[in-house]
């Protein structure tokens, strides 16, 4: 995983998402989810390439199920983009890099 990606937990989620100056992508994932693993290297690249423009974070739904539940996540990978702490967009399912970038508006 890229050093530029932050792992979120239930304890750190609100602080990180609310205090970030740039928009925050939260990738809801789990070890047992094949498509999540396929998206991981793409998010690594985005974290490296878009540093300063968007903050890439991950949340393990096994370890922090309450956060997933709070945002009604029922399918992974789900990527939610927060802007000033508010939900800006929501992307469900694994995608290729070009499509993901387009859906993220990057």
């Amino acid at each position: 995983m890229s050093e530029k990606i932050t792992n979120l937990t239930e304890a750190t989620f609100d602080e990180v998402v609310n205090s970030s100056a740039e928009p925050v992508i939260v990738d809801f994932w789990a070890e047992w989810c094949g498509p999540c693993k396929m998206v991981a290297p793409i998010l690594n690249e985005i974290a490296e390439e878009q540093e300063g423009k968007i903050k890439v974070t991950k949340l393990n739904v096994d370890e922090s199920p309450a956060v997933a539940q709070r945002f009604g996540v029922m399918s992974i990978p789900t990527m939610i983009v927060f802007r000033d702490g508010e939900i800006d967009r929501r992307i469900v399912g694994a995608k290729g890099k070009a499509q993901l970038m387009a859906e993220l508006g990057l």
Partner: protein, 321 residues
């Protein structure tokens, strides 16, 4: 200038990666366009990437996890020098040799790759119900991936639509989490194999709704119920549930080859059995894209080997190899 390759393989399920292992060992330096990530069955590694335990692949007496098996296929192909690119072919032109393959913008003047021979292993993609609310509710109770999403349906009532092996396998898997799983099936008997049927019938959490067709999936923020038509009595009913998993079959990924390769009426590629030759010389097909009968990981892998040997011999016959 586009790169020229002796062998380009489109697809990376058991067929494509077996073809890669064999052509790599034959020193043909295959290029594999493995596809792009997705949460449907159309992705690098193919359909096994969305399964859990594979119990019938020979050589694994204790079973093997589908994604782990495909990861090993991939490692083995790379070990012998296959090059894999995580991209999707967007267009092919098979009208002259070398064949032309595009990645990205299909309208680009220059193709991305030139191929002396082409192995088509694009597989098949899971069908959806094509109901108006289905796409909107994906990720909100409608799921294309039981292994990804079962976790979110703990102690809930859910349904699996379909009656084949994949439907029953998903239903069995989902009973680890759900309170109940209703299998909604159009007919009054299952297509699934005997062992899968026996397992489903013996599972106390699984019940069946026969002769039933899903007319609508209802819910604003998330799935609340489905509307079902009983095709025998013509009666409509509503079932309250929070999850719908669709496993009603597959269609071959042959859109790229429309008008260029001979296909059956159902879209599967025609090959000249027992070979993997298609209607265009130098183009070979293997795996589910040309198999509407067996559709197993092992038959796919076997046909991938056939395609690799066919391509190798054909290239040799062309001379220069």
């Amino acid at each position: 200038m586009p790169e020229t390759h002796d062998v380009v393989i489109i697809g990376s399920g058991p067929a494509g990666l077996t073809a890669a292992i064999y052509t790599a060992r034959a020193a043909l330096s295959p290029l594999v366009l493995e596809g792009e990530p997705s949460s449907t069955s159309d992705q690098p590694g193919g359909q096994l990437m969305l399964t859990t335990e594979v119990e019938n692949f020979p050589g694994f007496p204790e079973g093997v996890m589908g994604p782990a098996l495909m990861s090993d296929f991939r490692t083995q192909a790379v070990r012998f020098g296959a090059r894999l690119e995580t991209v999707k072919a967007s267009r092919v032109d098979l009208s002259e040799r070398p064949f032309r393959v595009w990645v990205g913008d299909p309208e680009a003047a220059e193709p991305t790759y030139l191929a002396q021979s082409l192995i088509v292993a694009t597989g098949a993609k899971a069908l959806m119900l094509d109901l108006p609310n289905e796409q909107r509710l994906i990720g909100h109770g409608v799921s294309t991936c039981a292994t990804c999403d079962g976790f979110f349906f703990r102690e809930q009532d859910i349904a699996v639509v379909g009656g084949g092996d994949s439907a029953l396998e998903e239903a069995n898997f989902l009973t680890r989490f759900a309170r109940s799983v209703t299998i909604i099936h159009r007919r009054d008997e299952l297509r699934a194999s005997k062992i899968m049927q026996d397992r489903a019938f013996a599972n106390p959490k699984i019940n069946f709704l026969w002769n039933s067709q899903v007319l609508d999936i209802v819910g604003d923020e998330k799935v609340e119920k489905v509307v079902v038509l009983n095709t025998k009595t013509d009666e409509k009913s509503e079932i309250a549930l929070s999850g719908v998993f669709v496993a009603i079959g597959h269609r071959p990924n042959t859109d790229l080859f429309e008008g260029q390769l001979d296909m059956k009426d159902n879209g599967y590629l025609v090959t000249q059995a027992p070979s993997s030759r298609t209607s265009v010389e130098g183009v070979f097909a293997c795996g589910d894209v040309q198999d509407d009968v067996y559709r197993q990981a092992i038959t796919s892998a076997g046909s991938g080997c056939t395609a690799a040997l066919d391509a190798e011999r054909w290239l040799e016959a062309q001379g220069g190899h």
